[in-house]
Symmetry: C2
Subunit: 334 residues, 2 copies
């Protein structure tokens, strides 16, 4: 199984942001030394109560440290952008990373982002579907003419093709069942989100495989999952150190109405222990290894992207968690 580091680019606004950024660079170096396979940066705008580093310049910067690891957007909010812009930005990143880019995209769920960037929320699905189609065709390198509802192009040919041929992998994040089916049709993989519990993921993954077969597509080669994860030398320390920060983040998520975007039957309205069950990977190395093995057994995951930091956390603990994952957990995984 490949392990990925999801950079947690949100911080309290009163923090020294350049220091926080330098810590992300150190985390990427630690992940590389620890045997991780990929590093991810995600996208949000207007992310009060926290700051947020935008993924395109962030991934450009950490590409200097990432060696053989892949880099990816986990995820870019595709409906907010012009597909021509995204096609060229990602092609540039694919060249910068030596052909090691994974293009993770999602719909987004926050009305404030759509409104501020001038996108009608009702157009999100259409813009995502058309955007993916246009980007794939542009990456092919031939002139593209396209008459969509949201995007129109006449003989448009991008400057720079990605290094990977025919193109970088496309991983589509989705929470709702309809989104999972969309990922089966349009993407190379469904990027399973960190908020949904294992039983619901199991149900939805069956939908994904069915929808993929129904669309006449080969089984997905990558089955990637994002999880919140914290490893400490012993279980009690792990829980005590993670809980205040992870709890804070989930309070912010509820204020963001992320819980609105959850699949049916899922909710954030739980105490921490209930929230953690089937959702977070927290503990000593052995406990986290067992949990990962359980996800692997039930979902067949090929890639696990861990988010190991929440706003306000001691950066030394984040590095320790990354090192423990590399030294104690990764070598004993299937």
């Amino acid at each position: 199984m490949r392990l990925g580091l999801g950079l947690s680019v949100q911080h309290p606004p009163e923090d020294p942001q350049a220091t926080r950024f330098a810590e992300h660079v150190a985390q990427v170096r630690a992940a590389r030394a620890a045997g991780f396979s990929h590093v991810w940066a995600s996208q949000h705008y207007l992310s009060a109560p926290y700051t947020y580093f935008q993924p395109l310049p962030t991934l450009g910067r950490v590409a200097a440290e990432s060696g053989d690891m892949a880099l990816g957007t986990g995820v870019l909010l595709l409906p907010l952008h012009s597909p021509v812009d995204v096609a060229e930005q990602v092609a540039t990143l694919d060249v910068i990373t030596g052909g090691r880019f994974i293009f993770g995209v999602g719909l987004g769920y926050r009305d404030v982002e759509n409104a501020a960037l001038g996108v009608d929320p009702r157009a999100r699905v259409g813009r995502l579907e058309e955007g993916l189609e246009v980007i794939e065709r542009l990456w092919g390198g031939e002139p593209v003419s396209y008459q969509g509802k949201h995007f129109q192009l006449r003989d448009v040919r991008i400057s720079l093709r990605p290094l990977q041929q025919p193109r970088p992998p496309i991983w589509l994040a989705a929470n709702a069942d309809a989104g999972v089916r969309r990922a089966a049709r349009l993407a190379d993989a469904w990027l399973m989100n960190p908020h949904t519990t294992l039983p619901t993921l199991e149900r939805q993954l069956a939908l994904f495989h069915e929808a993929r077969a129904a669309a006449g597509r080969a089984p997905a080669r990558a089955v990637p999952l994002i999880r919140e994860c914290y490893v400490a030398p012993d279980a009690k320390t792990a829980l005590a150190e993670a809980k205040p920060f992870l709890e804070g983040k989930y309070v912010a998520y509820r204020a963001w109405e992320q819980d609105k975007a959850l699949p049916s039957g899922e909710s954030f309205a739980h105490d921490f222990e209930t929230l953690a069950r089937d959702r977070f990977l927290i503990g000593d190395p052995e406990r986290v290894r067992e949990e990962i093995t359980r996800y692997h057994a039930r979902l067949g995951i090929t890639d696990l992207i861990v988010r190991v930091q929440w706003p306000g956390m001691d950066p030394a603990r984040v590095l320790r968690s990354i090192r423990l994952l590399g030294d104690e957990v990764l070598p004993r995984l299937v």
Copy 2:
């Protein structure tokens, strides 16, 4: 005078693009060692017949090598973008560079870019002016409400403010007289373009200073100029080595209708020697030093951004030119 390196991110499409990108990284290291003060990456889309690296991830990547040098967009095509997006991208780059970002923007002039990104070319000026106003207000950190013709915001507050307070410098590129006056009103500096000859720049700079005084603004502290520049150990070699590549680039510019965007009286329809006069800095170190001194005497430039590479050129010659600029030209400048 501060010297800046304008990265020439266009290459023949058949070139190995990852190698070309690695050469840009080496150029940034060389510029840093040679005493340059800043590094620039510009923006175009659909830039056939050449490839083009997009500036946001490019500047992110070279920030790993740039040390105390500033980084800048020279220029970002602002009308093509949402101001909320740009405000957050540039704030991220300002943090990544430790507060050393210069925000260079321009209108753009290519209809194919506007059409492909869904922008009405007639809206360019309005989108630039409103975009700059919105970005400045967003960088202030307070919630912004704005009812423009092109952009509407209600209580929008960005995630991350730039490190520089109140904000990064804004340098506005402009070719036509109206654009120069706009730069005087809206920006901290007019970024003088590489295509206009010295006599025309001199006439337009007077306009700029007048318009600035008329707007009740303090004189600009930066007077930056972009030039094509090539230094070799002797003048004959410099001309012979630069000419074929620079000529090729200007043929491409004419096909791009860049010449449509020139100020009145300016044209690219000349033989190379006429094109070079009052426009390119080519020669041995002494000749280039004299030329820069002449620009300095007539324009009072504070910053010279040199573009030292054109598509297809031997990368070793580019590095030699950067080193000669640092070793032989820069120490003898005013």
